[in-house]
Amino acid sequence: MRPFFIKITLTVAIALSITVVNAQTLEESLVPAFQQIDTSKTMGGMMSAAAKLDLITNKFPNEYASNYYSAYAKAMISYVEKDAKRRDLFLDMADKFFLKAQQIKPNDQETYILAALLANARLSVDGGSRWKKFGEIFDKNLNAAKEINPNNPRIYHLKGVALFFTPKMFGGGVKNASEQLEKASLLFSSQDSSSILIPHWGEKRNAEFMAKCDE
């Protein structure tokens, strides 16, 4: 990571993060930080986005959305991180934010979906020995979300991604995965994405996995 411009980018990021925190509303603060976590491909970019989200949560500690996105960002980083132990550490941090979000909205579809996302992230750290426990937690939460709103695209998106990584012999595989991803895709196009305060992530990632299924 020698290139000089990376440092400049980061420096700008630091400067930006300050302005982010200075921004007036939660919504205004969340939009750029969320965009960064959703588009970054590098660890550095994702980490700086997560740091921004944490700073926002520091400023708005009792808001559902700030805690929600802080947890979400950690989960996304855990998928990119290579070291198994650090992946769990990120998820430990995610759990703290998740518990806070769960306190604020215990019986919300997005809370269940976030719980399923975190379970899937835990499972993928050590699939061989965690599939049972976390697979069950994953299913349970998606079913709970589905009872509230069967048209939430993230239910099928997460199910599809999980199936993509599940060997065929255990009921996964590309064919089963793409069924779910396609269902999610239809629902994504009609979801309410008017405000960052109502989670609506996943469309881009869903499309990426659909492309992978077609390979």
Binding site: T11, A84, L142
Partner: protein
């Protein structure tokens, strides 16, 4: 670095100078204890509500507007939060910070001497529970898999139980949820090895201690197999299994979010199996039996408490023509009919983060109706055990466990008209501390006191385990102590009351565990004192002898050896293998032995190679186990020295192929396994006729065998499926 800092400051300066004039800066470098920069740490000042993040070089710089008292908080993955009150003045503050790693996130030293654990709760473990059930040749029995671990004698097919580091089968104990599982093995004919009674899928954790074990347990001179049953299941399911030895049905049902029941029933009949595989002994009644068990699991008070209760009842019967142990060369009919009832309950409660209670209770009752030629024998034993303990953590460096247990054991044997019986009440108390002065070093001293009402004697057994982390992935550990065990019920039932037998253990272990590789090397020395000796009788290898002469505690012995274990899941993708090798040198003078000798169940060399390979394309998992044991000693009456003749070495190669498939909501496993695929004609020893002129080989009940079966698992889903 300096250049970056300058540029950072410059940029921030440029950027912020536009927004405000009266401001100050707090900046610095954040490093860990080793002096390595910490990137992406977040910094937040609570009064100013300003924050920032370190760059890749650990540098941060934050501009502040409000002067006066503030608090800085630095957070980063893998570190404790750093919190410090700061006075913000109208000048630049340079604050370099060193982050500390939290105690619980570090690879703490874990005492490993003598113990191999298989659990899913720790991310790095020597074995996982699933590894145990998928060992080829293990027949899905925990004991089969434990036999591939170092320190354990490979059972040649003629023995039942665990023989660990020179100890015989009576010197190991199985524990389930904190209490002893009496009669852990099915009753069968002599010379035919028996499975344990327990379904391996009901356990979430297995901790096998080949010596030097915790003060919580006693009454085992050699080893402890400590099993923990599953917690509350997450969802309902139903499993159906069928194979050449029987059928089974099991399942779990959630009653609500806090309560679940599990049930299982099975019927065993070995007719199809023995119909295909030629047996070396004649079954005039093929083994058959049935088991019913049920479990109730309940969570209390927001996960603070967990209650488990297990009930199981089983029966089995078999009839075999065996070599007459009293008159080799002739056969005798042996039949057994067994009934077993077992209740086990445990309750764990976290009163606070620092205080935990644990109580457990178990009761078992076992009856064997034996027919031995024309003689009939009824054996009945029952055991009730209660345990209560308290664990308290004074601080993260020191915790203490204190507990007590009481057991009531009754034995009754009717041999034709002769009745023998005894009742024993054994009570024990124990105290064990764990002290970690720093994260690399751990001490676990303990002491256990026992009192036997039957013997009107007690014993005090000190224990000590310690470990030191020698590197990021390696550690050295020690375990030792004194262990006591009452004489075998065979003696007590005849009215003998010898003193406790005693063994002292010293074991030293070196372990490297990195990612998916484990290396372990363990050396040990055990001394035996006060072993039971039968005086004034001639030696006979007949295990059913009943003339014991005079008993005393003058026996003694030793065992020393080296155990090696290597496991690698890393090198070849999809391949997981382990190699265990044990060398043992042991001699003892006990029972009716003429002189100090290596017992006839011990092989000096034991080697096991276990390999598993998953071929995802054909959805099939292949598993192979190769075992080698050097020849066991046998008694030759014509030899001038006692127990010095050796049988040929034992070899076995087992293969299992499992085909995995999901049909809609059904997960299916079809398996095909071969034991002794090379059809090696193993000879485990010899028995001599009374006049010493004829010898007869002791052979396993089966040579090559084939076994086929399947398992179907149905998961229940909500009505309208995803």
């Amino acid at each position: 670095m300096t250049r970056t800092l300058q540029i950072s400051t410059l940029f921030i300066g440029l950027f912020l100078s536009v927004t405000s004039f009266s401001q100050t800066t707090i900046k610095g470098v954040i490093k860990d204890k080793k002096g390595v920069e910490v990137p992406y740490a977040t910094i937040f000042l609570s009064v100013n509500k300003e924050g920032g993040m370190t760059d890749e070089e650990g540098v941060y710089s934050i501009t502040l507007k409000i002067t006066g008292k503030d608090t800085i908080r630095v957070s980063s993955i893998g570190f404790d939060d750093f919190i410090l009150p700061v006075d913000i003045e109208n000048k630049e503050i340079v604050l370099n910070i060193t982050m500390k790693e939290p105690v619980e996130y570090l690879d703490e030293v874990v005492i490993s001497a003598g113990t191999i654990e298989a659990n899913n709760e720790r991310s790095v473990a020597v074995l996982k529970p699933l590894d145990i059930v998928t060992v080829a040749g293990g027949q899905g029995d925990i004991i089969g898999a434990i036999q591939t671990l170092p320190g354990v004698q490979r059972n040649g097919g003629d023995q039942t139980g665990l023989m660990v580091r020179g100890g015989d089968v009576n010197e190991s104990t199985m524990i389930i949820d904190g209490t002893i599982a009496q009669n852990a093995f099915q009753s069968g004919a002599p010379g035919v090895s028996q499975r344990s009674r327990f379904n391996p899928f009901q356990f979430k954790g297995t901790s096998f201690s080949s010596g030097g074990y915790t003060a919580r347990y006693g009454q085992a001179l050699s080893a402890i197999l400590d099993l923990q049953t599953n917690d509350l299941p997450e969802k309902d399911n139903v499993n159906f299994g069928a194979n050449m030895a029987g059928i089974s049905l099991s399942g779990s049902k959630l009653l609500d979010k806090k309560n679940a029941i599990e049930y299982s029933g099975s019927y065993q009949n070995l007719q199809p199996f023995y119909g295909i595989t030629p047996t070396n002994i004649k079954f005039y009644k093929v083994p058959q039996g049935g088991t019913f068990s049920t479990r109730w699991i309940s969570k209390l008070d927001d996960n603070k408490g967990l209650f488990k209760m297990n009930f199981s009842r089983s029966f089995n019967k078999t009839g075999v023509e065996i070599n007459n142990p009293a008159y080799p060369g002739s056969t005798i009919n042996f039949n057994v009919q067994n009934e077993n009832t077992y209740i086990n309950s445990s309750f764990k409660y976290w009163a606070s983060d620092k205080l935990k209670y644990f109580t457990a209770f178990s009761y078992s009752n076992n009856t064997d109706n034996l027919g031995f030629g024309t003689a009939s024998i009824v054996r009945n034993d029952s055991r009730a055990q209660g345990r209560a303990e308290l664990w308290y953590e004074f601080n993260n460096k020191f915790n203490v466990l204190a507990g007590s247990e009481i057991q009531r054991i009754s034995y009754l044997e009717k041999f034709n008209a002769i009745v023998g019986a005894f009742d024993e009440t054994m009570s024990a108390g124990y105290l064990e501390g764990e002290y970690k002065p720093f994260r690399k070093l751990a001490f676990k001293p303990g002491v256990r006191g026992e009192y036997s009402q039957l013997l009107a004697k007690g014993n005090i057994a000190p224990r000590l385990a310690m470990a030191y982390k020698t590197g990021a992935f390696s550690q050295i550990s020690f375990a030792g102590g004194a262990f006591y065990q009452t004489a075998s019920p065979n003696y007590l039932i005849q009215g003998y009351r010898p003193d406790f037998q005693n063994s002292n253990h010293y074991m030293l272990n070196y372990q490297i565990m990195k990612k998916n590789r484990v290396f372990r090397l363990e050396g040990y020395y055990k001394s035996y004192q006060q072993l039971i000796r039968e005086k004034g009788v001639n030696y006979t290898p007949n295990q059913f002898r009943f003339n014991f002469g005079e008993l005393d505690n003058s026996g003694s012995g030793y065992a020393q050896g080296i155990d090696f274990f290597w496991r690698d899941k890393e090198t070849v993708k999809g391949l997981d293998y382990w190699i265990s090798y044990s060398y043992i040198d042991t001699k003892r003078l006990y029972q009716n032995y003429i002189s100090k000798a290596t017992p006839d169940y011990v092989s000096n060399h034991n080697l096991n190679i276990v390999a598993k390979y998953l071929v995802e394309k054909i959805q099939t998992n292949f598993s192979a186990t190769y075992s080698f044991s050097s020849g066991r000693p046998y008694y030759n009456p014509n030899s001038p020295t006692f127990l010095t003749d050796h049988a040929p070495a034992f070899q076995n190669l087992a293969l299992t192929a499992s085909y995995l498939r999901t049909f809609k909501k059904i997960f299916a496993v079809f398996y095909l396994s071969f034991d002794n695929i090379l059809n090696t004609k193993n000879v485990l020893g010899y028995r001599y006729s009374e006049d010493g002129t004829q010898r007869y080989p002791i052979i396993p009940p089966l040579y090559r065998s084939i076994f086929i079966g399947m398992n179907l698992s149905f998961s229940q889903f909500s009505q309208d499926e995803l």
